[in-house]
């Protein structure tokens, strides 16, 4: 049976409960209160007079708040409930639970309210892999508070549970024995505070300072965030619903790192609530026309943590942009390499691409100058460390053979890169989209060098290298008889000939020769790759194709948004609109929230998109996908003095109005309309520009 869970979140602090707001111990599933990759509550069970409660209804007020309406006992047993409980859970730096108990009887009632609480302090990786703890747990009661403690050497984690009314506290929780008058009510507020490396001897450590840092009220912050994003109107309801859902989820998933001054996006709930290089860059790229404030802190933090030395365990090299950053016990004790882990071959060129794209939208030349050293180091990484074999291509091969990633591209599962006949190529491997990113990074790096870094020689060199890469790439990766680009090259330089979605990214990078683009687009929208909802990660003609395979058949909204962007770049507007249509329609089956991935089944077979088992939701770059698809449907391009609009809408969408698009021009509006009769596309009045804000 699939257990229904609910989650509320505030960046990397989140709570996963069952439908009545309880958390029951589950060593290998991510239920409970998590913060900075550690579980601070693994048991949180409410009882009234010894009985568990049953849900009548609930309202998911906001991403950070849920309210449950509950009655004691099993619904099949009760006649008329004499008592009911309203339970509101709010997440911020602490979990706050407000209980209201109502007596509906004409008699007074003596009631025992009990909350069981415990913390296993599991690292998220221990939950994933079901591993035991190595440190020591203890529990104590202090001034009416329940204190749960974990320590391993100098590593400390504490959960402090307190209430605003006197409670009987024991090691397993707290109890309130109350008397309710006829039709009376009683309430209490419980607070659960997660504490990391608590200070001793009055030292205000970074951890203490972070905990005490005043932060904006979540609700007001959210209202500001929504108010600053462009307003969307459309006659296609799933589109407006997906847009709204995406903005809320993107707001919810941001977290304040220990150093960053502004919040940065996390990757996915529950497993990836932390900083990923690739994910945060793609989310920034997807959302630049809508919420540009996400991007500068991403550039800042990734730039600060750029690799500076050779570390095999972390796969660090000078200039490399990180893959994953974790704060938990396994990272701290170096059982996992995430402090930070650098095992990705794409984040580094993508960093350069994002910096350039950010300037095109924002006109923030100062940022391009400030990040010049990091951008140059990243460009240097491509040739000096990414080009493993000296053949001009970015290859990857892990040096951390214990728990490093075998595939260091976005499809990072073990079996994602294969030949058409199912064999896995030897290492190192050079996937095609990595070469596209490297090409685009050089082209964009050249623009920045010429226009902002005052280094035309460097610009010429980068352009020369890009031209050389494009030429050899089109020679070595292209499979003429099939009309598509190979998924990868193996160590011998032979083509890994699977047909996969990766080449959609090549269109986005612009490395595809124009006279080949038509054949590439036909493959992407052809029956073996296009499911009717979107482009599958791997074509049905490959031996390893599996409709419920993570990177070998499932459909990823993020992947599709980049592919649509690529199709737009080469003028395939109808094809891009078809992908947008499939994705937006699919989002309607998930209340506007596109999951991480869904199954690659033919649309006509299932009639609805089947969510990939264990998919993360919300997922950052899935939330970003509807935004990028809007950009491609409206055909938005930034120019120094204006925003160009060139809409092409799918048949399901008659009208799109996007108002107050922020950028270097101030704010601009974009309109797109589809004519009723012949389907011709019409731009509304081309963008209205309002300079200054």
């Amino acid at each position: 049976m699939v257990k229904k869970t609910l989650s509320i979140l505030d960046g990397n602090t989140f709570l996963v409960t069952d439908v009545r707001g309880d958390v029951t111990p589950s060593p290998n599933s991510p239920a409970g209160l998590f913060s900075f990759d550690t579980r601070f509550l693994s048991t949180w069970v409410l009882r009234v007079n010894g009985e568990r409660l049953s849900p009548m209804s609930r309202s998911d007020l906001q991403f950070f708040e849920t309210r449950f309406f509950l009655v004691p006992g099993e619904p099949t047993h009760y006649v008329n409930a004499k008592l009911s409980v309203i339970r509101k859970q709010t997440i911020g730096i602490c979990l706050v639970e407000r209980l209201v108990v109502l007596n509906h009887d004409i008699e007074p009632a003596d009631v025992s309210i009990r909350i069981d609480a415990d913390a296993d302090f599991a690292d998220i990786f221990e939950v994933k892999e079901n591993q035991p703890k190595r440190g020591r747990r203890s529990v104590c009661q202090e001034d009416g508070r329940l204190c749960l403690h974990y320590e391993r050497a100098t590593f400390y984690r504490d959960t402090i549970i307190s209430s605003d009314r006197p409670a009987k506290v024991d090691d397993g929780g707290m109890t309130f024995d109350i008397r309710l008058e006829p039709h009376g009510r009683w309430d209490v507020e419980l607070q659960v505070e997660p504490i990391i490396n608590r200070g001793v001897g009055g030292s205000v450590t970074v951890w203490e300072a972070y905990r005490r840092r005043s932060r904006p009220q979540v609700r007001e912050e959210l209202e500001r965030w929504i108010a600053r994003a462009p307003r969307l109107a459309s006659d296609y309801e799933p589109l407006t619903a997906a847009y709204k859902r995406s903005l809320y989820d993107l707001a919810a998933m941001r977290y304040s790192s220990l150093t960053a001054t502004s919040p940065i996006p996390t990757a996915g709930l529950p497993w990836f609530m932390t900083l990923f290089g690739r994910d945060s860059i793609f989310i920034s790229l997807q959302t630049l026309p809508f919420v540009p404030a996400l991007t500068p802190p991403v550039l800042g933090l990734l730039g600060t943590l750029q690799g500076s030395t050779f570390d095999d365990f972390r796969e660090e090299e000078p200039g490399k942009i990180l893959h994953e950053f974790r704060y938990g016990e396994s990272a701290a004790f170096e059982e996992q390499p995430h402090t930070p882990y650098y095992g990705s071959a794409d984040a580094t060129p993508l960093f350069v691409i994002l910096l350039d794209e950010y300037e095109r939208w924002s006109g923030d030349v100062e940022a391009v100058r400030r990040f010049e050293p990091q951008a140059r180091a990243a460009l240097n990484w491509i040739d000096e460390y990414g080009d493993l074999l000296g053949t001009g291509y970015v290859y990857y091969r892990r040096r951390n053979t214990r728990n490093g990633l075998e595939n260091q591209c976005w499809k990072d599962s073990r079996d994602s890169i294969s030949y058409r006949d199912g064999r896995l190529p030897a290492l190192p491997r050079a996937t095609c989209e990595l070469q596209g990113y490297a090409y685009d990074a050089k082209i964009r790096g050249a623009r920045m060098a010429r226009d902002f870094w005052n280094d035309p020689e460097y610009a010429d060199r980068l352009e020369g290298e890009a031209a050389q890469l494009r030429e050899q790439f089109n020679r070595d990766f292209w499979i003429e008889e099939e009309g598509y680009y190979a998924l990868a090259l193996d160590p011998e330089g032979k083509r890994v000939d699977a047909l996969a979605s990766n080449m959609g990214h090549l269109l986005w990078s612009g490395i595809v020769e124009p006279d080949r683009a038509r054949r590439v687009a036909d493959h992407l929208l052809g029956p073996s790759l296009f499911s009717g909802w979107g482009v599958r990660t791997l074509s049905t003609t490959n031996l390893r194709y599996n409709p419920v395979g993570y990177h070998v058949g499932a459909v990823w909204p993020f992947d599709n948004s980049i592919i649509a962007w690529g199709l737009w770049r080469y003028g395939f507007r109808e094809e891009a609109a078809r992908i947008a249509d499939g994705m937006i329609t699919a989002s309607g089956y998930f209340d506007g929230r596109l999951p991480e991935a869904f199954a690659g089944y033919e649309r006509s077979l299932t009639g609805y998109p089947v969510e990939y088992p264990a998919a993360c939701s919300p997922q950052g770059w899935s939330a970003g996908a509807p935004l990028l698809l809007l950009r491609t449907m409206l055909g938005l391009s930034p120019y120094p003095d204006h925003l160009a609009v060139d809409p092409y809408l799918p048949p399901s969408v008659g009208r799109i109005e996007l108002l107050d698009i922020p950028g270097r021009w101030g704010r601009a509006d974009a309109f797109g309309r589809r004519r009723q009769r012949d389907g011709d596309q019409q731009a509304g009045p081309v963008a209205r520009l309002t300079h200054g804000e």
Partner: protein
């Protein structure tokens, strides 16, 4: 073995970083390095000021006035030495509370990156591929 931290700081003061070609111009500020005994008593205090790509060091026995620090990095001598030799990395030690940071974390992290060496076992990825491929 001598004082490895002192040697590393001297090298840094000459503008040489173990990892960077030059000291990055940002962030700027002063870090106080508190070297403790195993019991936790601070026995030496160094002050390092990073500013516009240079490092100024005030030695523990200096007569000059102590600058106001923007951050403090505190751990024992043995841990400092292992960091200098690249046998430990700053971030995991910070996460497991084996060293304490107060104040401007970004500044301390930058100092750690320019002052401490990478792991002695680290490979250039091309060398690694060649070694794996065998002779």
């Amino acid at each position: 073995m001598g004082d490895q931290l002192a040697d590393a700081l001297q090298t840094l003061e000459r503008g040489k970083s173990r990892t960077f070609k030059s000291i990055p111009p940002e962030p700027t500020g002063t870090v106080r390095l508190d070297v403790t005994e195993s019991a936790g008593t601070v026995v030496k205090q160094w002050f390092v000021t990073l500013e516009s790509g240079t490092a100024r060091v005030r030695r523990p026995d200096s007569e000059t006035p102590r600058p106001e620090p923007d951050a403090v990095l505190r751990t024992d001598k043995d841990t400092f030495d292992r960091l200098v030799r690249g046998e430990e990395r700053f971030v995991p030690l910070f996460f497991r509370n084996a060293l304490v940071v107060e104040g401007h974390l970004g500044l301390v992290h930058m100092l750690a990156m320019v002052l401490f060496a990478g792991p002695p076992t680290g490979h250039h990825p091309r060398d690694f591929v060649h070694e794996e491929a065998g002779p």
